[in-house]
């Protein structure tokens, strides 16, 4: 059965080739273009384009209209800048904006520093480094909800495992998630725990690409490990640093699931970020306000990530 289908096919394609033949006789330029159109047809974009257009582009574009409305999903009333005014006048929402920035900067900063240190450690002459790389990377693949729940149990005040261990070595642990001043940072630390594996692997790839000659040159000059790290590893793994910063900023600015499972934005509004405000306002039925939050997030991400990636690209061309 299947072999017959295979036999049938070349006939069809032979017909296609016949149809192509006149094109080849025509002037070369149009001939090439025809061949390209046949071989790499633009309609290959269509299936992906339809889904992407409908489900991603259209909502993104119309969000810029609905952000200026009072919206029930069935009808909308244009109210100008009111949503944004509300967004920037309510204390809770303003602190959400600040928290988003703090969260993104803290997580990406820590991922850069810890990722690089772990990568240096794991490219060194250590046994079991393959296993260690896997161990550090695996949390990246674990569901965020699972990580969030596990750590909110581990971080329980007094009875939690982490507080108990710290108490044994004489440190009084704070009420990680229950104290407004530590809640956001505690979630950020868990985010780093989960994500540092990817940063480490990106750095490992970067460090392994550094030619050995540079390190040998430092040896010849009598420099030690610190010189190698400071003057070879750090500057030459700059592309990896750029990648890690961009990736973790993009992820950190829109981060929602970990915060939502660990604190729900609380206590109070102390760990609310824009993404959790979008969810809360959506749940409360303020669809226009929620969409305005989305527009704010869009602008924030674009304002930070776009110039940064332009700058990083120009630096990479230089070096």
């Amino acid at each position: 059965m299947s072999s017959r289908a295979d036999e049938a096919r070349p006939v069809g394609t032979r017909d296609d080739a016949g149809a192509d033949r006149p094109a080849r006789k025509s002037p070369r330029a149009t001939g090439v273009r025809n061949v390209r159109a046949h071989t790499y047809p633009y309609w290959f974009y269509a299936p992906a384009g339809v889904v992407y257009g409908l489900i991603f582009l259209v909502p993104t574009v119309i969000s810029f209209y609905f952000a200026f409305t009072r919206w029930t999903l069935f009808e909308s009333e244009f109210i100008g800048l009111d949503n944004f005014r509300q967004f920037f006048s309510e204390q809770a929402l303003v602190s959400g904006l600040r928290n988003t920035l703090v969260y993104a900067v803290v997580t990406s900063g820590l991922k850069v520093v810890l990722g690089m240190l772990l990568a240096v450690l794991l490219t060194g002459p250590i046994r079991s480094r393959g296993l260690m790389r896997s161990v550090i990377f695996f949390p990246v693949l674990v569901s965020t909800v699972a990580v969030g729940i596990t750590f909110s149990v581990l971080l329980q005040p007094d009875v939690g495992v982490i507080s108990t261990v710290l108490a044994k070595i004489g440190i009084t642990a704070p009420d990680w998630l229950g104290d407004p001043s530590t809640a956001l940072l505690s979630v950020a630390l868990v985010d780093v725990w989960k994500g540092v594996g990817l940063a480490t692997l990106i750095y490992i790839a970067g460090i392994l690409a550094i030619p050995k000659d540079y390190y040998e040159a430092v040896d010849v000059d009598g420099g030690g490990a610190w010189t190698k790290f400071r003057n070879v590893t750090v500057p030459l793994s700059r592309p990896a640093t750029f990648t890690v910063i961009l990736l973790s900023l993009i992820g950190g600015l829109r981060s929602f699931d970990l915060i939502w499972t660990m604190t729900g934005g609380g206590p109070g509004f102390s760990s609310d970020v824009i993404a959790s405000i979008i969810y809360k306002t959506y749940q409360a039925g303020f669809f226009g306000l929620s969409t305005a939050g989305n527009v704010v997030l869009f602008i924030l991400v674009t304002l930070i990530v776009y110039p940064l990636s332009r700058y990083f690209n120009s630096r990479e061309v230089e070096s």
Binding site: R9, H38, Y45, I55, L198
Partner: protein
């Protein structure tokens, strides 16, 4: 002397790293094996009686076996989304790489936007409602396809660049064009990157929490991540079952990771570096 100090420093660092990254997983497993009252202590200790199988059975039986439905939904969601992603993104990655020009530039810009721009939530719900697929599995599948597309195209595009054009030309001379050239000549050659795309996007889709939360709310057709989140409030005394649920959603990625470690790592880092 200095060398000794350096290696001992490394050993300490490694031990600390191992403890930090492994202990939470051991804690999950131990708590998931305990009985109800022991698990409520939240301590890091061996269970007095191992109740692994009983807890698995209990967690599946809980609340009218909602977890069975959830696993079925997550499986359908993951398999269908990833299949669609592989086919449509391979086609895009191929043409985008082979036919540079204005159209390809626009497509590349859209791919980049897809990586950076956070999706607009309520407008997406509105569009899904217009299409009559809001709160349905097909609707969520469309969402997962749309939101994971940019990353997959990126992986395919990079791989197509490594396939010599001479192959296309040889196939063209044999009379292969368009679809048949792609699916009979190119697509089989994309196998390595296809496997990478399948693995990485399966993990993303299976672990996704935000999109099911918005676009497939409600208990009766929840995915595993949503069920887990809902258990958090409903099982507030049964930590053993909560953690058994956590272990169960952690096992699929763990199995994939054990068998395809290199592929997954390659996919995650190359996609990242190119982006």
């Amino acid at each position: 002397m200095r060398a000794v100090r350096r290696t001992s420093l490394e050993v300490v660092a490694l031990v600390v790293a191992a403890v930090v990254f492994v202990v939470p997983f051991i804690f999950m497993f131990l708590t998931a094996s305990k009985n109800e009252s022991e698990s409520a202590d939240l301590t890091f200790s061996l269970p007095t009686e191992w109740r692994i199988l009983d807890n698995i059975k209990d967690v599946f039986d809980a609340r009218d076996s909602i977890l069975v439905t959830a696993f079925r939904n997550s499986l359908i969601l993951t398999v269908v989304s990833v299949t669609i992603l592989v086919v449509v993104c391979a086609m895009v990655g191929y043409v985008i790489q082979r036919r540079p020009g204005r159209v390809a530039n626009i497509a590349n810009a859209l791919v980049l936007s897809g990586l950076i721009i956070p999706p607009a939530v309520v407008p997406t719900i509105w569009v899904l409602q217009q299409l009559h697929v809001f709160k349905t599995l097909p609707g969520l599948i469309l969402v997962e396809v749309a939101f994971n597309m940019a990353f997959c195209v990126l992986l395919f595009r990079a791989f197509v660049a490594a396939i010599p054009r001479e192959l296309d030309e040889a196939a063209m001379i044999d009379g292969c064009t368009g679809l048949s050239l792609f699916f009979r000549v190119i697509f089989p050659l994309l196998r390595p990157v296809t496997i990478t795309v399948i693995l990485t996007s399966s993990v993303f889709v299976f672990n996704d929490f935000v999109n099911p939360l918005y676009f497939l709310p409600g208990d009766e057709n929840a995915t595993v991540q949503l069920t887990l989140y809902n258990f958090l409030s409903q099982f507030n005394t049964q930590y053993n079952l909560l953690f058994m649920n956590i272990v169960l959603v952690t096992v699929p990625p763990l199995v994939l990771f054990i068998f395809f470690n290199r592929k997954i790592v390659a996919g995650m880092t190359s996609g990242a570096v190119k982006g």
